[in-house]
């Protein structure tokens, strides 16, 4: 057996279990100062000239900077170029948490105290301005302009104001389609912020160098984004802006573009003081100021024939972008491309808007615009099934995309469509038919997993629900301009291997998977491969570590480099054995003659032969994403080069007295082309499902007047060890030819389908349809009580209080 497809233990596991792995706050640079950021306490406030003196007077403070001190441009470029690195004096802060001054001090305590003094000054001295917090209000005809640097013209945005990005799909004729339908269902759905809650807060250390440049070490997913931001803000050539990733304690998209802000803040302080500056955010600052999943409002409508054939779908999708656009245009785009679900639908109309408000800029989070809209469409598909009297799994199966079908954007699928296998596996593993059709109501009297240990009697009802989705792997047509990746590979004299890539490990198993791919290609063991720290000085811009793209993109680049070095090694063997290089095969640890496998040499000895020949045992690799196309006017095209396919089944017990929902079991099935490391793939599925369960039931970031009320883990509840059900991850493999050894992408799909599956299960259990998440006990209980009241209204005697 080769290396790919084997559950090789993670190559970085030993460092992590011994505590030796160095995250940014574990690094130490001699002479470091501590940095802090003074942040606006209000969502919209005029910023007068900052009285630096009150910060400088704190003992230990060495420097205080504002936007006026920025040597380059006061802009952190992401997709567009509208976000300032710091709010500018004479202008305003546009979200609670926006940075307006930087402090460097000899101790963390002093830096934070000084920043706090400036925040108190702004709280008492900054004129509060009207804040637009609700995207619907911001889109209205008289709404003031939130973002001074960017706006889609009203005429283009269907008359709506404060739109930072607009996308559409127009296929067929939806009005005709709805007229043609036997049944039409519609609904409005709402989702809220989701905080990534990576256990390691954001942090950067900037080290100034002798010639005006800087090296930044830190917690990140996208070193090249940071390099671009440093170049913009410092005004230094990119070659002098070096970025090195430290071990990163979780990202999930929250460390895609957001780290550029602490990076440029630390770099500005480092350049001003000519000392290394450490800027590690507190948990509260991180939650308040860093990007989140966009809150969404989705209005959606499906039309179908009596037999369940989908005819038309119309979607109006609004995302609350926050004050600056950052990644909103591409989050919106992915949502637009997937808005109607993984089904054959001849008539499609989607209008999607990213709307500016005076709230924290939102950005990437695992799923990237799909979880919001798929909560809506997969819930509505179930409502349609009910109206039709059809089983919801059967309705999905009937309309499921197959090889040769066009997607909702007209993309005819030519390979790697494992959707029906995925649906079948989900139904079979969850015993769907039997459980769905068991007599109702189904009382569930097993004890709850929670710590109370209470044994309920007749208070909990069982339900089962499903969801399905497709996921376009990679950046898609919207991101194809940056969809390339580089790699470097070197075989050392003892046969050990070094590889460098431009995408990053953040826990998903990236380094291990790439080591396996390199090992498989060369014919050595994964344990012999070392992945170097990710460093912008080692490989060219390889794009971001997002969109479940790294296995395909960096895997492709690593294979490219490995093939070149393998050719150099095999050339020497071929000469010695008088065989062409094509006649040689590899397996783990060996090179052999294909027609006579007993004739073989160990990889290490082959490397010695190559060294004797002074062969060049190092190479660069490069991989371009396969093509994709998209027309912005019609919204049609081959939007992604390949899709992954997923189906989920959730079983729940709903406590009808308290509204609490316990997930009893979760089955999550994914066609990922090829599992390079099955154990790590299972871990990704389970981890994504649990984040999805949190999104569905617990995670509620509450803001009052534009300020988050409890920006910490007791205010934002994420699932604990006591909350997780048994999760059955199932991998289906319909290989993708251009992916490394057939692999597609997996990081995001497991989160996307959890919330609608749970909402559908709750409906099955207690007959209520929740259209807003999180489905907290209060919301579930209110829905249960409303249903009870509607079902049996008692006439009130005159004079009784309401």
């Amino acid at each position: 057996m080769g290396e790919v497809g084997r559950s090789v233990p993670r190559i970085d596991a030993e460092g992590k279990v011994t505590g030796r792995t160095a995250y940014v706050d574990d690094l130490d640079f001699a002479g470091s100062l501590h940095g802090a950021v003074a942040r606006s306490p209000r969502p919209h406030v005029r910023l007068p000239d900052v009285p630096r003196r009150i910060a400088l007077e704190v003992p230990g403070v060495v420097a205080v900077l504002t936007a006026a001190d920025i040597p380059g441009r006061n802009r952190v470029p992401v997709v567009f170029d509208d976000a300032p690195a710091l709010a500018a004096e004479g202008d305003a802060c546009r979200f609670a948490g926006e940075g307006f001054a930087l402090v460097a001090a000899t101790s963390r305590k002093a830096a934070l105290a000084a920043a706090h003094r400036l925040e108190e000054w702004l709280r008492t001295h900054g004129k509060a301005l009207p804040a637009l917090l609700d995207p619907r209000a911001a889109m209205g005809p008289d709404a003031a302009r939130v973002n001074p640097n960017l706006a889609v013209a009203e005429a283009e945005a269907l008359g709506r104001r404060n739109v930072l990005s607009y996308h559409r799909v127009r296929k067929g004729d939806v009005e005709a389609g709805f007229r043609d339908s036997d049944v039409v269902v519609e609904g409005e759905y709402r989702t809220s912020w989701q905080e990534h809650a990576y256990i390691e807060p954001q942090g950067m250390i900037a080290v100034p160098d002798a010639d005006g440049g800087v090296t930044v070490h830190g917690s990140m997913q996208c070193p090249f984004y940071i390099q671009k931001a440093l170049h913009s803000v410092l005004g230094q050539p990119m070659a002098r802006c070096r970025v090195v990733q430290a071990a990163t304690g979780g990202g999930f998209g929250g460390k895609e573009d957001a780290p550029s802000f602490p990076a440029v803040h630390a770099a500005l302080l480092a350049r001003a003081t000519l000392r290394p500056v450490r800027l590690v955010l507190s948990r509260e600052d991180d939650i308040v100021s860093m990007t989140k999943r966009h809150p969404g409002i989705i209005r959606i409508r499906y039309g179908a024939k009596r037999d369940g054939t989908l005819v038309a779908c119309a979607v109006d999708y609004v995302l609350n972008a926050g004050a600056w656009s950052t990644l909103s245009p591409v989050v919106l785009w992915r949502g637009t491309m997937h808005a109607t679900g993984p089904y054959r639908i001849p008539h499609v109309k989607v209008d999607a808007f990213a709307v500016a408000t005076h709230t924290v800029p939102n950005g990437a989070y695992r799923g990237f615009g799909q979880p919001q809209v798929q909560f809506a469409n997969e819930s509505l598909v179930d409502e349609l099934a009910e109206r039709l009297g059809m089983d919801p799994m059967e309705l999905r199966r009937k309309n499921a995309l197959r090889l040769g079908d066009p997607t909702p954007t007209g993309h005819v699928l030519k390979e790697s469509v494992g959707f029906s296998d995925v649906l079948y596996a989900a139904a079979r593993e969850s015993d769907w038919l039997r459980r769905k059709n068991a007599a109702s109501p189904r009382v569930y009297d097993e004890p709850s997993r929670g710590p109370s240990g209470r044994i309920p009697r007749g208070e909990r009802l069982y339900g089962i629900g499903c969801s399905a989705l497709h996921y376009g792997v990679g950046l898609g047509a919207a991101g194809k301009r940056i969809d390339r990746a580089g790699a470097f590979l070197q075989v050392d004299a003892d046969g050990s291997v070094q590889i460098a890539v431009g995408t990053t490990e953040m826990g998903q198993g990236h380094n291990t998977v790439l080591a396996q791919i390199a090992a498989e290609e060369l014919g050595t063991a994964t344990e012999r491969v070392t992945v170097l720290p990710i460093d912008t000085s080692r490989v060219p811009d390889s794009g971001p570590t997002v969109a479940s793209r790294s296995t395909v993109m960096s895997g492709g680049a690593v294979r490219d480099a490995a093939r070149k070095v393998r050719a150099a090694i095999h050339e020497g063997i071929g000469r010695r054995w008088n065989l062409p290089a094509e006649a040689l095969g590899v397996e783990t640890g060996w090179v052999f003659a294909k027609t006579d496998p007993a004739r073989r040499v160990s990889f290490e000895e082959a490397v010695l032969w190559a060294a004797e020949d002074r062969a060049h045992l190092a190479a660069q690799g490069f991989f371009l994403a396969p093509d994709s196309t998209w027309d912005a006017k019609t919204g049609l095209g081959d939007a992604y080069y390949v899709y992954s396919w997923s189906a989920n089944v959730a079983e729940v017990a709903v406590d009808v007295r308290t509204g609490e929902v316990e997930v009893l079991r979760f089955v999550s099935v994914h066609d990922i082309g090829r599992a390079v490391n099955p154990q790590q793939a299972e871990g990704q599925i389970q981890g994504g499902v649990v984040q999805g369960i949190g999104y569905a039931l617990y995670e509620d970031l509450v803001a009052k007047d534009g300020v988050f009320e409890r920006p910490n883990f007791s205010g934002f509840i994420i699932p604990t060890a006591l909350d997780v059900p048994p999760i059955t991850p199932i991998i289906v493999e319909h290989p993708y030819a251009a992916g490394p050894f057939g692999a597609k992408g997996l990081g995001e799909p497991p989160l996307i389908g959890a919330a609608p599956a749970i909402a559908n299960a709750i409906r099955d259990a207690v007959g209520v349809r929740l259209r807003e998440i999180p489905m907290t006990p209060e919301r579930v209980l209110r829905a249960i009580e409303e249903r009870r009241a509607a079902a049996a209204p008692a006439p009130r005697p005159a004079g009784t209080a309401a």
Binding site: S7, V17, D25, I199, G249, G507, V689, A721, L722, V724
Partner: protein, 204 residues
């Protein structure tokens, strides 16, 4: 106050001096803003060795371990006892080091992630291996992804296994109720603990 190495750049625009609220003005005139406490002697057993130091009484055990002792294996995830990333053993019990003051560790036996392998060897003899079974369990069981929560989970697991060598899943989950993980979904953490139990049994 130390003279800064380089003066901060002057603002590009000249503006009128900003007015500052009176109370901040007064405080800044009255001198240093921090009251310095007299350092306190503290002596404790740290990973099997006696350590003595003088610490500010406001120093947390977490900062003492990470910054004063150079033991960065214990992590800070929230600074207020909500995530468990800073879990260490204090006299055999799991505690959040961010909520323990360094002076409270006087006379206590503290074990951090750096001390786990030695702790196991003490219990089992010198040739029991370089890694504690819980560490091997997490490697083989896939219980670590980004790894930032891992030290906290390992210490909590050791506290459990030293009391209950063969725990049920419910006991494992309960032992971890104070440790948050965002990557794994916890399932492989449970499997890793069971793997550790098997490894420990095999060593007997």
């Amino acid at each position: 106050m130390k003279r800064p190495a380089r003066r901060p750049a002057r603002p590009k625009r000249r503006a009128a001096a900003p007015s500052v609220p009176a109370e901040i003005e007064a405080a800044s005139r009255s001198g240093p803003t921090f009251r310095r406490f007299a350092p306190v002697e503290v002596s404790l057993s740290l990973n099997g060795r006696t350590v003595s130091a003088r610490v500010d009484p406001s120093r947390t055990l977490l900062d003492f371990l990470r910054c004063d002792c150079g033991l960065t294996g214990t992590k800070e995830g929230c600074g207020k006892g909500e995530c468990g990333a800073c879990t260490v053993l204090m006299d055999g019990k799991p505690v959040n080091a961010c909520l323990v003051m360094a002076v409270q560790a006087e006379g206590a036996e503290i074990v951090t992630i750096e001390g786990l392998a030695d702790r196991w060897c003490e219990h089992r003899g010198a040739d029991a291996g370089r890694l504690h079974p819980i560490q091997r369990g997490f490697i083989e069981g896939g219980g670590t992804q980004c790894g930032i929560c891992t030290p906290g989970f390992l210490l909590a697991a050791v506290a459990l296994l030293e009391r209950t060598p063969d725990p049920t899943e419910a006991e494992i989950a309960k032992a971890f109720e104070g440790n948050l993980c965002r990557c794994t979904g916890y399932r492989k953490i449970f499997e890793s603990v069971r793997r550790a139990v098997e490894i420990a049994k095999a060593v007997r």
